[in-house]
């Protein structure tokens, strides 16, 4: 396979409400930062892939509203209407086609501009499911109840995910929530959807992320420490929650298997140095450990108890603070990719994992891991 490199990354600070910025202005912040960091102009960008969601942006074909900001007026631009990790994949394919030397990938969401509960509710079937008030939180409650009951996962084990990720977020200047929480804070926070409590869910955030990717030749010009794509897999589960096995992330497992095969990963805990997973709620991260093969099925709770996923553990998970700390929904997958790239470039500052050479990033579309994307990256240090 030809090589694809991440050369530069830009993120906004993730915040509750960026009231002074239109979505176009928000996106331009990260695009301009990419230009400045890599000392390039818009003419050096071959084409653009963006990721957003029309309901969140409050207009149809919403990528048309940011053509100025992404520099694609009279240029090739296309969008993934979904998670930003899939936009990375689309961009990588444009490089692999041989047609473009560089691709700019951008993803954004301003959660503050819409009603996130109604937008999430609108994911569901309008005849049998929407009136039931199903959204990301009620669906998570069902999934957590089924997972915890099946495998005997404790509330403390679930809460540990939040404590870990919120602690990591304190070291990430881009993270939205920068307030440390204790196990007691999590366990004593109000019950939102039994068995999950308020702090076991992410905030809603505004923010954008951008990266420039390039072919091997161009990457050598643009970056000292390019980060290379080593493996990719995706797998989608059934639309209806009632058609899924809700106590295991079957789709994520399928995506991981494909990505591991491509990257030659047979022992993920030993071969991977760092992982960024889509922690949409506390137990979701524990389920992800299992689906990604970090531990056996049903062992997600025991695995976090060992401390393996802490910053200094054998497989640190979500050094960025994860979705539980910053949640500009559509950008979440690309933020996972960005954090892995920063780690492999050795630019993750206070949260840097020592000797990080191979990393995993996971993006997700839909509710409770319906659409899954697993990416494996290798560092070039």
């Amino acid at each position: 396979m030809k090589k694809v490199a991440i050369c530069g990354i830009a993120q906004t600070k993730y915040e509750e409400q960026k009231i002074d910025l239109t979505i176009s202005e928000l996106v331009f912040e990260v695009v301009k930062e990419i230009h400045n960091k890599l000392n390039i102009s818009n003419d050096d960008i071959g084409c653009v892939i963006s990721s957003s969601n029309d309901f969140n942006d409050g207009r149809t074909i919403a990528n048309m509203a940011i053509q100025d900001a992404v520099g694609s007026v009279r240029k090739a631009e296309s969008r993934v209407s979904g998670d930003g990790a899939f936009a990375y994949v689309y961009g990588a394919m444009r490089i692999l086609s041989g047609e473009y030397d560089t691709v700019l990938i951008v993803s954004h969401t301003k959660c503050s501009e819409g009603d996130q509960y109604l937008i999430n509710n609108s994911i569901f079937d309008p005849f049998f499911q929407r009136h039931l008030g199903l959204d990301q939180i009620s669906a998570a409650g069902l999934m957590a109840n089924m997972y915890m009951t099946k495998y005997g996962i404790s509330e403390q084990q679930a809460a540990k995910v939040v404590v870990k990720n919120r602690k990591n977020a304190m070291l990430n200047p881009y993270a939205h929530l920068q307030q440390k929480v204790s196990l007691e804070d999590v366990l004593e926070s109000p019950m939102l959807a039994f068995p999950l409590k308020e702090l076991e869910f992410p905030p809603f955030s505004d923010g954008a992320v951008a990266m420039l990717i390039a072919n091997e030749e161009k990457a050598k010009e643009l970056a000292d420490t390019p980060v290379w794509l080593e493996g990719y897999g995706s797998c989608t589960d059934a639309y209806y929650l009632g058609h899924r096995n809700m106590s295991d992330l079957v789709g994520l497992e399928g995506a991981a298997k494909e990505a591991y095969k491509m990257a030659g990963i047979s022992d993920p805990v030993n071969q991977l140095d760092v992982a960024e997973v889509y922690d949409a709620f506390s137990t979701h991260e524990l389920m992800s450990y299992e689906a990604l093969g970090f531990c056996e099925k049903g062992q997600g709770g025991n695995f976090i108890d060992t401390g393996a996923t802490e910053l200094e553990g054998s497989i640190p998970v979500n050094p960025s603070g994860g979705v539980l700390s910053s949640n500009p929904t559509m950008a979440n997958g690309l933020i996972r990719v960005a954090e892995i790239a920063l780690q492999l470039m050795g630019k993750a500052e206070k949260r840097q994992i020592a000797d990080a050479n191979i990393g995993l990033a996971n993006g997700m579309n839909g509710i409770c891991s319906q659409g899954n994307c697993v990416l494996i990256f290798g560092g070039g240090k």
Binding site: Y117, A193, G242
Partner: protein, 168 residues
């Protein structure tokens, strides 16, 4: 600000915000499909539940679906079969936050119980409200039964909730 980053005072209430408001409806007329039309007609007239049975694998889908995802085979109204209004709880939650009912635009009172269950003779799970809101009284494996309204209208509201039942 609370620990999840939400400000108590919504920013829209701040006085220094420049705001332009407009009110536009964006109505949809979703095609519901022949299977669902039959489902709601039979629900209204006969107080019965129908699922759809895949002609290839024999799996019964509830609510009825037009395509079997396992076999990628079409199911039609001829493949619809009656299923009993009783089943077994496979997962539950108790919702403890406000929810705008998309049908009425009004706020739904909370807390309320919410369940995923498998109706007898079906091969999929389905979900609905539960009449129980104390999670300590709910358990996976409990039997549940649909409660029908007196005046049926031919929509999902004809079954306001499922109740936990004791059998035998």
């Amino acid at each position: 600000m609370n620990l999840r980053g939400e400000y108590k005072l919504a920013k829209k209430d701040r006085e220094d915000i420049f705001e332009i408001r407009w009110k536009t409806d964006l109505p949809y007329k979703y095609s519901i499909g022949k299977l669902s039309v039959k489902f709601f007609e039979v629900l209204k007239k006969e107080r019965k539940l129908l699922g759809s049975k895949c002609p290839e694998c024999g799996k019964v889908h509830f609510p009825p679906r037009g395509v079997c995802a396992e076999c990628v085979v079409k199911m039609t109204v001829d493949d619809m079969v009656e299923v009993p209004p009783r089943g077994t709880l496979v997962g539950f939650t108790v919702i403890n936050y406000p929810f705008v009912d998309p049908q009425t635009g009004g706020m739904r009172p909370f807390p309320y119980g919410y369940a995923l269950f498998q109706l007898d003779g079906t091969d999929t799970y389905t979900m609905h409200f539960l009449d129980e809101k104390d999670h300590t009284k709910m358990e996976i494996g409990q039997r549940v039964e649909a409660v029908f309204k007196d005046e049926m209208e031919g929509n999902l509201g004809d079954i306001p909730y499922f109740k936990i039942i004791k059998e035998g």
